[in-house]
């Protein structure tokens, strides 16, 4: 390969490819409040911008302080109220402000970091004064700094308006931040933290733009407006590339485009196996902007629409109206195909930090998803009301995450009934809808048959099911190696679910990543699954793969597979038995 030979003369950063493709473009450093923990180097031209961000944030922080003061004014004694005045005085302190701007200018760092170090400096100075009363208040400096930084992050989201096509450089991007970016201007991503399953990666893949993750020092190495080549295949990012390598990449990009056009030719194929048996390929979506992908990739429907994009982590909980408008957009995609909306999967990694700030030792075994919502009806109620109201054509499917036992679904149905009554009395016309649960906790998998009387469909969330079954946090690099969809325990469990639900006439789908991975998808076919939901761009790949397979005799492979003890051998078995089928899509297996 020519490119690999010439790379050694280039300045490039190595990470991992989290979304395929090649793109050339200019860098845009995505700012956010989380970047306060370290200094981000800024260019001379950006100093002015950073300083103006500071002043905007200071103004906002002052306004916020005054409104807080007004709000709690009646409830506390006048002396305590004076603290607000003191904080306000610090926000207006000319010395404090000039030191922050001096730090930005002399150290060439982002405003957040500058606020942080300036505050730290003052904290140190004040702590040396021999005044017990003042000592008590020294930590107020942190509070004030956080107030500014918080406002900086909101000022940032307004600032992160991308006017021209850019490659986004970010340490870590949240879903709500992604929702703010104009996707038509997005050429690609470079992220420091994000792995294959990060939000940036998921969105990049669904938008079909390249992305490279795990470039830990991307903030320091890349500057705004640097010319970049993102190579999602090799997982590298070349900074200010030479004309030679640019030319080589142009050729490579052309080859890649040709492959894509082959992929596109699969889109219109019918969902039929080689022996004309049907299968169903639905789309997993995360943000409203992805809705056109349902048509683009000819998905049978939406197998999973995650609603967490509505949770803006710096803002308050979305009200019913805001939610309703989002769900209405989702439901408008089609009036016949099934549209599955999953209630907030909050808690664990996605805790709404502003609402319930509780540190848990084991958040993934803790108060999350439906467990959280059942004890916080004020959050579940507006969501269910908004979802039901958006169901104009009767093709809605409500999916509840993290269900552990039947009691939960009994309570959920009761709540739904209450809400239906409520809506009816308000004059809302209700259309039929289906109720389903995620099978992602082993207890629900082992007792799937007990849910049959209470739900219309099941959706297996393999990512979590594998984590919980194997007791492995796949985000933890030290134990990641244990995370394996081909583990005999997983195969047995997935098989058992189909056995339990065999005569139930309930739809059983898989919406985890397994559904969109060729070898895993074949395994699922063998186990009896026919409904798959995946990121939209994988639909044509899986469709092509399935169209080459005869479903009739496929279940027989289970007899062989169940006797195998190691995950690797199962993979080899599938690779061997389905070599020709896999070869037909080999170009797209990533």
């Amino acid at each position: 390969m020519n490119i690999d030979k010439y790379l050694k003369n280039e300045r490039y950063l190595k990470g991992i490819g989290i979304s395929q493709g090649i793109v050339k473009g200019k860098a845009y450093i995505f700012f956010k409040s989380e970047s306060i923990d370290y200094a981000t180097k800024i260019n001379y031209e950006d100093i002015e911008n950073e300083v103006s961000r500071l002043f905007i944030a200071l103004d906002k922080a002052k306004k916020k302080l005054l409104s807080m003061r007004d709000k709690i004014g009646e409830k506390i004694d006048p002396d305590s109220l004076k603290i607000f005045d003191a904080h306000y005085a610090v926000l207006s302190d000319p010395l404090f402000i000039s030191e922050i701007t001096d730090n930005i200018k002399s150290k060439r760092v982002n405003t957040e970091y500058s606020v942080k170090v300036t505050a730290l400096d003052w904290k140190y100075k004040l702590s040396k004064i021999n005044d017990p009363y003042l000592l008590e208040r020294v930590n107020d400096i942190d509070e004030i700094a956080n107030l500014i930084i918080e406002e900086l992050s909101t000022a940032v989201s307004e600032q992160n308006v991308i006017k021209e096509e850019r490659i986004i450089i970010s340490e870590f991007i949240t879903l709500s931040e992604l929702a703010q970016i104009d996707k038509t201007k997005l050429l690609g991503f470079v992220t420091a933290g994000g792995g294959y399953t990060s939000h940036a990666a998921i969105v990049a893949r669904s938008l079909g733009i390249p992305a490279v993750g795990h470039i830990t020092n991307c903030h320091n190495e890349i500057k705004n407006n640097d010319d970049l080549i993102i190579d999602g295949i090799r997982g590298i990012c070349i900074i200010n590339p030479s004309p030679k390598i640019v030319k080589l990449y142009e050729q490579e990009a052309e080859t890649y485009r040709k492959k894509l056009s082959i992929l596109e030719s699969y889109i219109e194929m019918p969902n039929r196996s080689k022996d004309k048996q049907p299968f169903f390929l639905e789309a997993n979506l995360e943000i409203i902007e992805e809705l056109p992908l349902v048509k683009k990739y000819a998905a049978t429907g939406i197998g999973l629409f995650r609603t967490e994009f509505l949770l803006d982590y710096s803002q308050s909980f979305p009200n019913e109206k805001k939610q309703h408008s989002a769900y209405s957009k989702i439901m408008s995609v089609c009036d016949k195909c099934g549209i599955t909306i999953r209630t907030f999967d909050v808690g664990g990694d996605k805790m709404i930090n502003k609402i319930e700030e509780i540190a848990e030792n084991n958040p993934f075994l803790g108060w999350r998803a439906i467990r959280f919502q059942l004890s916080n009806m004020e959050y579940l109620r507006p969501q269910l009301r908004a979802i039901l109201k958006a169901n104009k054509h009767g093709n809605l499917r409500i999916l509840f995450p993290m269900v552990t036992n039947v009691d939960e679904i009994v309570i959920l149905r009761e709540k739904l009934r209450e809400i239906e009554e409520e809506l009816k009395s308000e004059g809302t016309a209700l259309k039929p809808y289906k109720i389903g649960i995620m099978i992602e906790i082993p207890s629900a998998a082992l007792t799937a048959d007990k849910f049959v009387d209470y739900v219309d469909f099941f959706s297996v969330g393999t990512n979590d099911l594998i984590q919980y079954t194997l007791a492995v946090d796949r985000g933890n690099e030290k134990v990641q190696y244990l995370y394996d969809a081909f583990d005999p325990s997983i195969i047995r469990l997935l098989k058992y679910i189909t056995v339990l639900l065999k005569d139930s006439k309930r739809e059983l789908a898989v919406c985890g990543e397994m559904a969109g991975k060729p070898r895993e998808a074949i395994l699922l076919l063998i186990l009896g699954y026919r409904h798959f939901s995946m990121v939209p761009w994988k639909i044509p790949v899986i469709k092509k793969l399935f169209s080459t397979i005869e479903f009739g005799p496929i279940a027989a492979h289970y007899e062989k597979i169940k006797k195998i003890n190691s995950p690797e051998e199962v993979k080899e078995y599938i690779e061997r038995k389905f070599k020709d089928n896999l070869d037909s899509i080999r170009d797209f297996m990533y």
Binding site: A86, A89, V90, S92, D93, P94, K125, L126, I129, Y133
Partner: protein, 85 residues
């Protein structure tokens, strides 16, 4: 530039609350104003600067100011420093 010496009569010195009050006064003054205790002088519009001086009851401080209305400003400060609480 005007200069005047004051003695702090507030029993608690120039702690957080009186300092906040003081800043409200100096912020209204259009010109420059400095406060010195001993050898150390700070911008008298900076609450953090004032607090680091650790001004106590009966400490002597020197105010220096320049700008429009400096006479009235420095005269009116007497009232502030005379306050006992």
């Amino acid at each position: 530039m005007l200069e005047k010496k004051f003695t702090v009569k507030n029993k608690h010195g120039l702690h957080l609350r009186p300092a906040t009050e003081f800043i409200k006064i100096t912020a209204c003054f259009k010109g420059e104003v400095y406060l010195a205790k001993g050898d150390v002088e700070v911008n008298a519009k900076s609450i953090l600067g004032l607090l680091t001086l650790g001004i106590d009851y009966e400490d002597e401080v020197i105010i220096r100011c320049t700008g429009e209305g400096e006479d009235d400003f420095i005269r009116n400060l007497q009232e502030f420093f005379n306050k006992e609480e």
